[in-house]
């Protein structure tokens, strides 16, 4: 068990190192210089040079990479080129928007998908099943930014229940939750549609298994059989999708953050890319890689919880 854990840890560190190198190289190769971006069209060459040396951009590439890497290990992500504030601070500020948003969207999509998938699988072929499947088709097909715009149109412009976007901060948690509600719904529905379909097909696979027939034979009703034996076995593919969705929701909310002008992580990266704030781009992407690896690890652990066979195999 211990050697297994050590092995996993070593491979985790190696993949992080490789990721950091790839990220650094890709970002550095992109054309564009942060200093000339900051100083605009009228700047004189010596001014640009002065700013470059102030930012440390005149140092050789390998020195910058090592500096960045060693800083990160000690939790210091460096200073943003454009904002001139610590990157760690900026990221944690933005995480306070992105993380709750991702969690809310994930909770919503799970809350919708589980019952809907169960319902559709239990009544396979019925009108209800067709209805749910039709709705998920629609949910998968509708782009989430369009859906977000429709939500704004209805709930912010016409009904005036919500503001059209922005984030007031967590001083008033109710207001903050309110500001995240529409974006969370916009993010959650397409995810819920996908999850429902996965849930349904996983359950249908399970329903054909021998042990389900045995469960019915020993006197359980169809519903009881699904509830006691089916659901748990169907969870593995569902958990995989949820893990993938969480990483996507954390990083992939860029467009939704634009539509609702939320100061989240996605928008930070977007701005940083256009401004060539390289160190912010590198650090955020690195953080996301880290998050994906950790989430995958957590999903692995969750497999073991729902499926005892996986536990003994280790």
């Amino acid at each position: 068990m211990l050697t297994y854990l050590l092995k996993r840890l070593t491979s985790l560190v190696i993949s992080l190192l490789v990721a950091s190198l790839v990220i650094f190289l890709v970002v550095e190769v992109a054309p564009g210089d942060p200093a000339s971006f900051m100083l605009g069209l009228n700047a004189q060459p010596d001014t640009v040079a002065a700013l470059r040396s102030e930012l440390g951009l005149d140092m050789p590439k390998h020195a910058r990479y090592l500096g960045w890497l060693s800083g990160m290990v000690s939790g210091d992500f460096g200073m943003s080129y454009t904002y001139r504030t610590p990157v760690a601070q900026m990221i944690s500020d933005r995480l306070w928007v992105s993380l709750p948003l991702a969690l809310m969207a994930l909770a919503l999509s799970t809350l919708i998908a589980f019952p809907a998938g169960l319902f559709a699988a239990a009544r396979r072929g019925s009108a209800g099943d067709m209805g749910v499947m039709g709705a998920t088709q629609l949910g998968v097909a509708i782009p989430n930014f369009w859906f977000a715009m429709m939500l704004v149109l209805v709930f912010a412009i016409n009904l005036r229940w919500f503001s059209a976007g922005g984030f007031p901060g967590w001083e008033d948690p109710l207001l903050a939750l309110k500001a995240l509600t529409l974006p969370a719904i916009a993010l959650a529905l397409p995810q819920a549609a996908i999850l429902t379909r996965v849930m349904r097909s996983a359950l249908l696979d399970i329903l054909g298994e021998d042990f389900m027939r045995t469960a019915r034979a020993k006197g359980l009703s169809a519903r009881q059989a699904i509830w006691r034996h089916g659901l748990r076995n169907a969870l593995i593919p569902v958990l995989t999708i949820i893990g993938l969705q969480f990483s996507f929701l954390l990083a992939g909310a860029i467009i939704i953050e634009q539509v609702f002008f939320l100061p989240g992580l996605g928008r930070l990266v977007f701005q940083a890319i256009t401004q060539r704030d390289l160190i912010v781009v590198e650090s955020v992407v690195m953080l996301l890689v880290f998050a994906v690896i950790v989430v995958n690890f957590a999903v692995d652990l969750a497999y073991a919880v729902v499926d005892p066979r996986l536990r003994s195999r280790r």
């Binding site: 002065a50 919708i112 704004v152 912010a156 002008f261 930070l268 701005q271 060539r276």
Partner: protein, 492 residues
């Protein structure tokens, strides 16, 4: 489940109520771009000035709403006979927002910092003529020039020349300390900047007590934020196609002003075939400006025939020199030995004037036989490839700095004109202090670049503002990038 979700939604909605604008002494102003940091003296980003100019920071002189240069922290000034010595008398009783007092030493500090060797001032050229800055006494500053400079008072009005204090310079990028009518209060990065009234202000107190700037880059979100009345005003509204809808709505007013942004189809004057004036003239005649203004800008924008703002009193209307005339264009190409036409690159930065305008221009050029390969670039890429690398045939860009015709005198500037006769005019202009002689020189300069067809001159960028109908005092035009709130108030 569904019912539960809807119930929760309704509860949240009712719980928070509709808290639009609380009192009539606060205002929420939205704009597209967020400032990268809050030091107007070390970045070109117009967004910094859009928030801070005239509100938080002031210079010796300042731009008024009509673009004229008026006294700021300098009450008055004397100019010596030879035009080399400017003696400024400063306003008295002025304090910075941190309580420290403002005097001649602060002026000296600010100007010396801006023109220092290691300065990161994006407009360092503004201070080029200055030889020395002396604090004669706390209320008097003497600036000595190396050569006469007729534009000094104008240059000192720029946001890049505002007065900062040595005591607070350290933290200026995140908590700016100026002398203006509003104090910086708070910045939630990515979302908003809050200002509050400066009770100690030396000038006339503003009507507003608080001001919040919000940053909404997406045009659709901009539309929604105004319609939902989340914001009281949107300056530089990014979706011109929606303006008629706001005009028809009694809740809003639409103010369309002009900017200092000459939008041009820049040509690489050193790269064949654009090194041939005939080819440049052919390009100029192939362009239908009105079609571009209508198609790309939804009718907003004033056609220009040279690199100069039409609202400037010295502007000469030279649009006819490059009127839309495809037949003439084909003749010129034939004369240049390019009867078969040619292929070139058209590199477009992100703004919609460039992206949408580029498609239209490409179609117009195709009519006369010029094929373009369009590539869409990000700003950073554009700066690297086009601006610094000069690797382009054609590009579209809006030059937003005020009074920037001088860039044509720089031979290494990206479109690479720098004709010696033009440089001579600019040199004379810089040394000339007599307003009439200056005006004549400016007109000569405009004519020369129009006759040489250095670039295709398209239109002056418009500046639309959508605001609550009860707000008055917002600037219509943008003589410099600014959202001067000192004169803004709510009416009944």
């Amino acid at each position: 489940m569904k019912r539960l979700k809807l119930g929760a939604l309704a509860a949240i909605a009712i719980g928070a109520g509709v808290a639009a604008h609380a009192a009539e002494t606060g205002i929420t102003v939205a704009m597209q771009l967020e400032p990268p940091h809050l030091d107007p003296t070390s970045a070109a980003a117009g967004a910094i000035d859009s928030v801070l100019y005239a509100n938080v920071f002031e210079g010796l002189t300042r731009f008024a709403a009509d673009g004229s240069v008026v006294p700021g922290l300098a009450k008055s000034w004397d100019i010596s006979e030879d035009g080399l010595t400017y003696t400024f008398t400063l306003q008295e009783g002025v304090t910075f927002h941190d309580g420290s007092s403002f005097d001649a030493e602060d002026v000296k500090f600010s100007l010396d910092r801006a023109r220092a060797e290691d300065s990161t001032n994006a407009q360092k050229a503004l201070f080029e003529a200055i030889d020395t800055v002396e604090a004669v006494d706390p209320a008097t500053v003497r600036i000595t020039l190396g050569q006469p400079n007729g534009a000094l008072l104008f240059n000192l009005a720029w946001g890049d020349a505002v007065i900062v204090a040595p005591e607070s310079i350290e933290g200026i990028k995140s908590s700016p300390v100026g002398t203006g009518a509003f104090k910086f209060a708070n910045w939630v990065q990515g979302d908003r900047i809050e200002l509050e009234r400066n009770a100690e202000y030396w000038g006339e107190a503003p009507a507003l007590e608080t001001a919040t700037f919000r940053f909404i880059s997406d045009p659709t979100a901009a539309f929604a934020s105004v319609m939902a009345e989340d914001v009281d005003a949107f300056v530089g509204f990014p979706a011109p196609e929606n303006l008629p809808q706001f005009e028809a709505d009694p809740r809003f007013q639409v103010i369309v002003g002009s900017t200092e942004g000459e939008t041009i189809l820049a040509m690489n004057n050193k790269q064949p075939p654009f090194d041939n004036p005939l080819v440049r003239e052919a390009v100029a005649h192939a362009i239908d400006r009105q079609a571009i203004i209508d198609g790309a800008m939804f009718g907003l924008g004033t056609p220009i025939g040279t690199h100069f703002a039409p609202h400037n009193p010295d502007y000469v209307d030279l649009v006819d020199l490059s009127g839309f005339d495809p037949d003439r264009s084909r003749e010129l190409l034939e004369e240049a030995g390019l009867a078969e036409g040619f292929t070139t690159t058209l590199k477009l930065p992100p703004p919609s004037y460039a992206r949408r305008g580029g498609e239209i221009i490409a179609a117009q050029l195709r009519e006369v036989g010029i094929q373009t390969e369009i590539s869409n670039l990000e700003w950073a890429q554009w700066l690297e490839e086009v601006f610094r690398g000069k690797n382009f045939g054609l590009t579209i860009v809006s030059h937003t700095e005020p009074m920037d015709i001088g860039i044509y005198a720089r031979p290494d500037y990206y479109f690479q004109y720098g004709k010696p006769e033009f440089v001579a005019i600019m040199d004379k202009l810089n040394a000339e202090t007599d307003p009439e002689a200056r005006s004549a020189l400016l007109k000569d300069a405009q004519r020369m670049i129009a006759e040489d067809h250095v670039n295709g001159y398209l239109f002056q960028l418009a500046f639309p503002t959508v605001a609550n109908a009860r707000i008055e005092g917002l600037w219509q035009n943008q003589p410099t990038q600014a959202t001067d709130l000192t004169g803004v108030r709510w009416t009944e």
